[in-house]
Symmetry: C2
Subunit: 346 residues, 2 copies
DNA sequence: TACAAAAGTGGTACCGGTTCCACTCCGGAT
DNA sequence: ATCCGGAGTGGAACCGGTACCACTTTTGTA
């Protein structure tokens, strides 16, 4: 159990002071003669020296970021985590992972532990609560990037997301173009940024087509639990003339629950009901029928999040918040089709 | 941007020395009078003091573990990560996440960065290579727990996994009991512990039933890429009399690829081919037909992994490696049935 | 009553980096 | 010739905890 070499060992073997080694380590932090740098680099290689992250963090110069996601059970977040870890690795940055399980209470606790960690930055999918905790985090100098969601009252925070409104609108347009007039939507809570934006897009598409908006067809449901199944059941229990002929599931966490309910009720897709869901998973094309989806460019979300938070940490970005919106792609499969004349009750 | 209180601030407001505060922080590290402890606790609460993780790690007394998984795209690993993070949170432990993407080269690099982090322990799904790097990790005092997989030549490492051999055997028995005699298996590489154990279980079930083992029906394929699809294609391209009537997909990472290939080839399940897959996902019952699965108790794997690694870190466990095997559950759904007499060519 | 052992407390040297500052050169401008 | 400024370097304080050790007070026991 011999211990790892320290910066002083390197300094000794290179015949220089620790200051110089440190400067070599953090390129650009001070002048180093070319010849000296070479000696130091050689010594580092010879000893297999690697600077310890903990020592750096103690000085506030760490390269660790916190990643706070809602829930790794949701394939969307799982893949997002995968890509973010990947991007971070490529930049020599380590990632401390936490999950909130969509619980503001846990989120608050987690926020505190992230502070102890003296992480330089945080990438998060906020629950929507804990507003003052988030701003306190920023006050102590931690750079913050929201991904996928945002919080309206935190105007000074960078946000990376897809074009939620446009995506929902285009999916809705697609259904309208197929001939549907009663389109339902299951979204996240309307208090969340994604819920609100997607419903807004859905509404604008309807309005543009001259279709009146029916509040009964809009279901903003929680991310946790089986709220999707309940919403589906409620929608299908509507009187025949009010019942939707198409459904947009704009709540990634409730897709599975909603689909299961549809299968259990024996709903025939797309004859009785056309379905489009948010987020493309490996299994969306394995179910019967294969699902039409809004595909989120997860790698882009990851790349921009990491770029942003690191850019901030290194002070390479101008002040003022950045809002990055990437385009999502609508992928048409068999679950969306023209409404069945037999089923139509216009 | 005011800074957080330090241990010295606490000592000052409590009217004691930092030593005492430290002792209160790490309960059991030394004597503290009850009255004093109360004063210190009050001061901590008043100042909202939280010890910084980095400072602790510098002394080798950190409570951070590394979690090194193959790939968060695989729902099995994603859910495992979710549970491990959860268990760790409950114990006040932070998790640094890395992924190997099944690449030994990346694994090696990642191993090094985990060392810099001065983590006290690591939970990992090893690729199978980098044997000496793993043991070097142990040499420097990092406690190591392998989860899901193991490495045969690292005998001194704790391992948490399901009963791979028994699980594969019981699934195979199930198929045999249904009347199948030509059962194929798609597993991970036979050089991996899971691949070898599952194939062994499969073979023992066949042998017990007096069915000869046909090497052509055993496909140990890599975790990455589309090897599952290729294996399926190859199996179905066999001459009619050799073609399997049942398939056990014992490689969680290749389930999706294999299933997609089956759908693309228009194979009717279970009439033409019975299918059982390893790992129960949210979507296994949404596909048509719902899949019979081996359900892995992911929460148990997570709990035991975290317990083990923390137990080691705190020296609360006797020396000598621990091998924890938890039971997996076979869940019968519609994808496994008796072979079609029409299709049978015995 | 005496005296050793244990309880309680404080001082301070670490851990391994970063960073500020002082100092020595050196070349170029005045 | 003199001065100035910047490149290059080393010394040492510092970040925020932990842990060892020395010291004083109890407590228990012979």
């Amino acid at each position: 159990m011999k211990k790892a070499p320290t910066i002083r060992d390197v300094a000794a073997t290179a015949g220089v002071s620790v200051s110089v080694v440190s400067r070599v380590l953090n390129d650009g932090s001070g002048p180093v003669a070319v010849a000296t740098r070479e000696k130091v680099v050689a010594a580092i290689a010879e000893l297999g020296f690697r600077p310890r992250a903990a020592a750096r963090e103690l000085n506030g110069a760490g390269l660790t970021i916190g990643l706070m996601l809602a829930d790794l059970t949701n394939p969307f977040f799982a893949r997002l985590a995968d890509r973010i870890v990947w991007e971070a690795r490529g930049r020599g940055v380590q990632v401390v992972l936490t999950t909130t399980q969509e619980d503001p209470h846990i989120e608050a606790e987690t926020l505190a532990t992230l502070l102890d960690r003296s992480v330089g930055g945080v990438i998060a999918t906020p629950t929507g609560d804990n507003i003052d905790q988030w701003s306190r985090l920023q006050d102590v100098g931690v750079d913050l990037v929201f991904v996928d969601r945002s919080i309206a009252s935190l105007q000074n925070t960078d946000v990376v997301s897809i074009q939620n409104e446009a995506s929902a609108a285009s999916a809705t347009q697609h259904l309208i173009a197929l001939g549907h007039r009663r389109v339902a939507v299951i979204s996240g809570p309307l208090s969340t940024s994604t819920g609100a934006a997607r419903v807004a897009g859905y509404q604008s598409a309807l309005t543009a087509a001259g279709i009146p908006i029916d509040p009964a067809l809009i279901r903003g449901v929680p991310f946790r639990g089986d709220a999707g199944a309940d919403a589906v059941a409620a929608l299908l229990a509507l009187p025949l003339v009010e019942r939707p002929t198409a459904l947009l599931v704009a709540n990634t966490a409730q897709v599975q629950s909603s689909m299961r309910q549809l299968y259990q009720m024996g709903v025939e897709i797309p004859r009785e009901l056309s379905v489009i869901v948010f987020d493309d998973n490996p299994w969306t094309e394995l179910v019967t029928p294969p699902l039409s989806v809004i595909r989120q460019p997860i790698d882009m979300l990851a790349r921009h999040s990491v770029d942003l938070v690191l850019g901030r940490m290194q002070g390479k970005l101008p002040v003022g918040p950045r809002f990055v919106e990437v385009q999502a792609e609508f992928v048409s499969r068999s679950s969306s089709a023209a409404p069945d004349p037999q089923e139509s009750h216009v």
